[in-house]
């Protein structure tokens, strides 16, 4: 809807404006015992939300209405019914910004605090309380917040019992001292955070659990010309959690430590990025009882690896951050061979090389579970020999002429599923994947895209092949058919096909699509968080729109 201004003879009254968006996903499930398809009693799942926001001058407010009747298969538990899941009111001017009700926020990289949402994963840890942002002087930004955290949804928002309070300050020194530094080639900003949670959920008689746990963070970001560096350090006080699967991590009184370092160089045509991360016992939640894996997280621990998009590379053996701790490294080189050169071709050729790896930290176990329960000691960036994952990938993309472009990608994974527990047989998996993709533009509005993927492995379920053809008619239509075939499975009856057909219609901000066929069981990841998706056979309708 647009801006409503009611105009009389003498006065213009600004009535404000309303906007929002809607997303609806509905699935109808068929029985399919061959692939172990999920078949709930209610046969149909529907996840939907609609945001309606009102805005007038410096004031805005809104609500979100959510519906899970019933939640889609594979969605985490804790979602049911229909009701209001988010509501807020906000006032802001150039210096001050006050929000009451629900809000999202991130301090630094998010390791110490990140309230965010990822609806496709069923993750929403919105805070509910009050947030104040203040810029007392140019270049200085302060944020204070306090609230309860969203834990579940049952005919409406349900907050956990714990409380989170936080304060963050960031100073951009170039803006602060702009008379001398505004146009300097050297830029620097520093920031610090303090986050504390209060929780009284767990009254186990065995241990004295701290009710207030604090975490401290400091960060710096610098750049000089083409080089940039950023670093962040987080220290979390002891915060014992139950761990029913591993006694060495069960109610331990270690501090948590997180270090994130990033060094980058980029110039026209070339970008290099190096990252290193050390996490030890950095998982923290606003509760100290056992909850669902993605519930009540206060911080966000990003996975230090590239988010792959090709089907076999992203859903078969995806790596998700190890909550107990890891030492991770990543290197990224993106280079574009210049256009109009012999090797680059008329339009240039892009090459992207990426390598990511994560190790369990070297821990020296103390055997003090009867006394101080510090369990182990470890040093920053001291990695053990056991790698959780090694992910090497290289991608080459080239446009040949106005009609044709292609990409070739190669992935090589070493994936320790004995620790990660994602595939069926929990073994050490060696896999490599080849992908070829080509797009051909038939005419001004019609184009076709083809993808062929092949996964080769001697472990788990053996080799897979994948093919996709997508036809699109700009700007309104697209059609696709794809198939995944586990031809290399050592068990003959498990050599299954998973065909899927999709059609969609687009108009401006509206998008409607329908999908029919079989979906393989897999893992769907966004950021550092993954959700296992069960196999299914049926129809899916998706509608997204903004207004």
């Amino acid at each position: 809807m647009g801006q409503f201004v009611y105009s009389q003879e003498h006065a213009d009254i600004d009535l404000g404006s309303i906007s929002g968006n809607t997303q609806v996903i509905a699935q109808y499930y068929n029985e399919d015992t061959l692939i172990n398809a999920a078949l709930p009693d209610h046969i149909m799942g529907l996840n939907s939300f609609t945001n309606v926001n009102y805005s007038r001058g410096k004031f805005n407010a809104g609500i979100r209405y959510e519906t899970y009747l019933n939640p889609l298969e594979g969605y985490p538990s804790g979602f049911a019914g229909t009701g209001i899941g988010y509501r807020y009111a906000n006032w802001k001017n150039e210096r001050l910004n006050i929000t009451i009700g629900n809000f999202f926020e991130q301090f630094g990289s998010g390791t110490i605090l990140r309230a965010y949402e990822e609806p496709n994963l069923g993750l929403n840890n919105a805070l509910d309380g009050i947030k104040i942002k203040y810029e007392p002087y140019q270049g200085i930004n302060l944020t204070g917040l306090i609230g309860k955290q969203r834990e579940a949804f049952n005919d409406g928002l349900i907050n956990g019992n714990g409380m989170v309070r936080g304060f963050d300050g960031e100073i951009d020194l170039n803006t602060l001292f702009d008379s001398t530094f505004a146009d300097s080639k050297f830029r620097i900003s520093i920031g610090g955070s303090f986050v504390s949670k209060y929780n009284n959920d767990n009254t186990t008689p065995d241990f004295i659990l701290p009710k207030n746990v604090g975490a401290y963070g400091g960060r710096i970001a610098m750049r000089y010309g083409k080089i940039r560096f950023s670093g962040e350090y987080i220290l979390k006080e002891n915060d014992p959690y139950p761990n029913p699967t591993d006694e060495r991590f069960n109610y331990i009184y270690n501090n948590g430590e997180g270090i994130l370092l990033n060094l980058g160089y980029s110039t026209k045509g070339l970008g290099i990025d190096l990252s290193a991360k050390h996490n030890d016992n950095m998982l923290w939640r606003s509760t100290n009882v056992s909850v669902a894996p993605t519930s009540l997280l206060i911080g966000f621990l990003p996975t230090m690896s590239k988010q792959h998009t090709y089907n076999l590379a992203s859903t078969m053996y995806p790596y998700a951050v190890n909550f107990l701790g890891e030492v991770a490294f990543q290197a990224d080189i993106i280079y574009k061979i210049p256009k109009k050169t012999k090797i680059g071709g008329k339009y240039g050729t892009s090459i992207n090389i990426n390598f990511a790896t994560a190790y369990a930290p070297n821990r020296t176990y103390l055997n003090d579970m009867d006394s101080s329960r510090n369990s182990y000691t470890s040093r920053p960036f001291d990695a053990s020999d056991s790698a959780f994952v090694k992910d090497f990938n290289i991608e080459i993309k080239r446009k040949f002429n106005k009609k044709f472009k292609a990409a070739l990608t190669y992935f090589n994974f070493v994936f320790d599923d004995r620790a990660i527990l994602v595939a069926q047989k929990h073994e050490l998996i060696y896999a490599d994947i080849f992908v070829a993709e080509a797009t051909y533009k038939i005419n001004k509005h019609h184009s076709v895209r083809i993808e062929a993927q092949h996964l080769r492995t001697g472990q788990d379920r053996g080799n897979w092949a994948y093919g996709l053809i997508e036809y699109s008619i700009s700007p309104s239509w697209f059609f696709a058919i794809m198939d995944q075939y586990n031809y290399g499975n050592s068990v003959e009856i498990e050599r299954l096909h998973y065909p899927l057909a999709t059609a969609g219609y687009l108009n401006g901000p509206h998008r409607f699509s329908i999908q029919y066929g079989k979906q393989r069981a897999g893992v769907f990841c966004v950021g550092g968080v993954c959700r296992a998706v069960p196999a299914s056979n049926g129809v899916t309708f998706t509608l997204t729109t903004s207004f």
């Binding site: 945001n51 965010y116 170039n174 574009k336 700009s474």
Partner: protein, 165 residues
């Protein structure tokens, strides 16, 4: 009565079809790749057209759209004075990849970072790519589009030319 019903229906249909158009860009401070802070509502581009395109380094159609426009961007600017603002919704996992990618492709766009999805939420974006066209002289959205198929950039250019007159 029937006339009123038809009129109301037509009004509602028009409202739904024009969806979001006519609204202003919300005021929000975002960081550039250099670390400077800009309020996106303050970007006026001297009254010329402004394109705001939400993208991410993991979104292939987003990169396809922005790379395709990049090939002709200089001509678009010469012809219409348009400024394209590419807002990246990469979070802490992939935000380190934004600058190397942008520079390796040689984009001339203004790139802003929206790591926790604040602007994405404020502009009611569901999925990326989502591209908005803003009339710089009024600050209001005149056109927006979700998704990208090869050829969509031509419709965007037509819309830019329409308001650049």
């Amino acid at each position: 009565m029937k006339k009123l019903f038809t009129l109301s229906f037509a009004l509602i249909a028009t409202v739904i079809m024009t969806a979001q158009n006519g609204k202003s860009i919300p005021s929000m401070k975002l960081k550039t790749l250099e670390g400077k802070t800009i309020d996106i509502a303050q970007i006026k581009n001297n009254g010329k057209p402004i394109v705001i395109s939400f993208w991410a380094t993991w979104c292939k159609p987003c990169k396809a759209e922005l790379n395709t426009i990049a090939e002709d961007y200089e001509d678009w600017v010469d012809e219409t004075g348009v400024e394209l603002i590419a807002v990246s919704i990469d979070d802490a996992r992939s935000s380190g990849r934004v600058e190397p990618y942008v520079n390796s492709q040689g984009w001339e766009y203004t790139v802003l970072l929206d790591p926790n999805g604040d602007l994405k939420r404020a502009m009611n974006v569901n999925n990326v790519p989502h591209t908005f066209l803003v009339d710089g002289s009024t600050g209001k959205i005149v056109w927006n589009h979700n998704n990208y198929s090869p050829g969509d950039e031509e419709e965007l250019l037509e819309q830019i030319e329409r308001i650049a007159k």
